[in-house]
């Protein structure tokens, strides 16, 4: 088993969770309903917790402490997909991103529950309940607003069309793809993407939202290789502010 292939997989997953966790936490105190504010904040906290679990696996493989990894790297050292770093915008975009990303994330961990790398398989089995809630939450909101009023469907439709190229960018293949597949660590991005497409189509069929022709959507790649939008450096600057002022701060 190649350690570098495994580390690359863990880093991109951990970075996805951390960055989206941070983005979604920006809604805390500003959610559209009190109950939804609590739910969305809670799920953001789950994501940061999941990133910590993944960074801890990396620590066991000889990488730096989770706090160091999270707070001291530059944007180009992050392997998250561009989808998760985009600014929140309006709630319709945040919901669509939550739906597109969390569907992929839940499928990814479902696949990893059978990974040959046992610590990752254990983590996948442990957090299955959190992921079940995240997808349940996303599906019910999309179902509700995706078939409610002209405004709600119109907004979601525009956000969907905007987000899809970035969502497809999350399945950017790694240089170690064949190695990960042959060693039984992970089934591969291609397989994940196919299952994701089916799942997204199934949920959206229950709404008035329409998926454009998949063949015409140009995926936005680059994030996995450290090529990011300007939004990531701005996010990192804010996220690591306290750490940079006082690395030993406790709260």
């Amino acid at each position: 088993m190649s350690e570098i292939a495994l580390k690359e997989l863990l880093y991109k997953m951990a970075d996805d969770q951390l960055i989206l966790g941070h983005r979604n936490s920006e809604w805390t105190g500003m959610g559209p309903l009190l109950e939804e504010d609590i739910a969305f904040s809670s799920m953001a906290q789950d994501k940061v917790g999941q990133s910590l679990a993944l960074y801890t696996l990396l620590l066991q493989l000889g990488e730096h402490e989770p706090d160091t990894v999270a707070f001291t790297r530059d944007a180009q050292q992050f392997h998250n997909c561009i989808l998760v770093e985009l600014p929140n915008g309006e709630y319709d975009f945040s919901l669509i991103r939550h739906f597109l990303f969390d569907t992929a994330e839940a499928l990814r961990f479902q696949m990893l529950a059978n990974s040959s790398y046992e610590p990752l398989a254990q983590l996948a089995r442990k957090i299955r309940g959190e992921l079940r809630y995240h997808t349940l939450h996303a599906n019910i909101w999309i179902n509700q607003l995706g078939s409610a009023t002209e405004e709600s469907t119109g907004r979601l439709q525009r956000s969907l069309e905007f987000a899809l190229p970035y969502a497809l960018g999350a399945f950017e293949e790694s240089a170690y793809e064949t190695e990960l597949i042959s060693s039984g660590i992970f089934i591969g991005e291609k397989m994940l993407k196919d299952q994701w497409v089916t799942q997204i189509e199934t949920i959206l069929q229950t709404t008035n939202l329409r998926i454009p022709d998949w063949k015409l959507i140009q995926p936005v790649f680059g994030g996995r290789a450290g090529h990011h939008s300007i939004h990531l450096s701005l996010l990192l600057e804010e996220m690591s502010e306290v750490f940079r002022i006082d690395p030993g701060a406790e709260w």
Binding site: L33, E35, I38, A39, I127, G129, E130, Y133, W141
Partner: protein, 238 residues
Amino acid sequence: MGAPSFEITQDKLRYSFGLINRMTIPPALNSLDPRVHRLPITGEPGPLVPLAPLDQFGTFEVFVQPKDGKPFQHEGIVHAPNLKMAYVLAKETFTRRFTCISMYVVETRNVMVSPMSEGDMNAYDLIDEESVSYNVGEKTRYEIYHLMKRGKQQVHVGSVEASHPQEAFVEAKQMLNSEKAVHNIWAIRTRDIQFTSPEEKDLWLTLPEKKFRDAMEYRGGEKLKQFLEDRKRHPRYE
């Protein structure tokens, strides 16, 4: 004539946003303060209309099962547009801190409530059994809840079969009445409840590890005290 002060506001607006085109200024200020929109328009002729319902969600009652072998208890209320969304919103509102293994929700208006008792009186004795008709239609299951102490929660005590809610209370009096006085009884038709399915039980799998959500756990008070004492000793922050 118009209101001169309003014209000044528009000018200020135009100035502060650097707007040149007069058409971009709305004819009336579109305030972000919701109270402005609630003010009735006065002095204008208009049609006769029905009173509009308030634009707000209905309420749903949330019940939580703290652990295996323990009954469900009433935990609180959420606002939601429907039963499914109520379930999703209730999950984090009421089960994000204390460990639990299951939860369900029901629309508030589907909860039938007995009279409230006083002192040692039992709420079951306050139900007018004379007026209840029996076996008038198909029987269905009702869940029964007791409030044993004022200020506490309604706790699930069992279920009965009845053809309507009033009959459910009478059935419950025979089957589930307690020796101690019950202050208040609730009955909910089982099929009105949005339950947690067996496969959804893993929703709370990692909850025992989320102690960081407890105020007790992060010892906010202690840390504040420590900070204030440090500051007294090293007054450099003053």
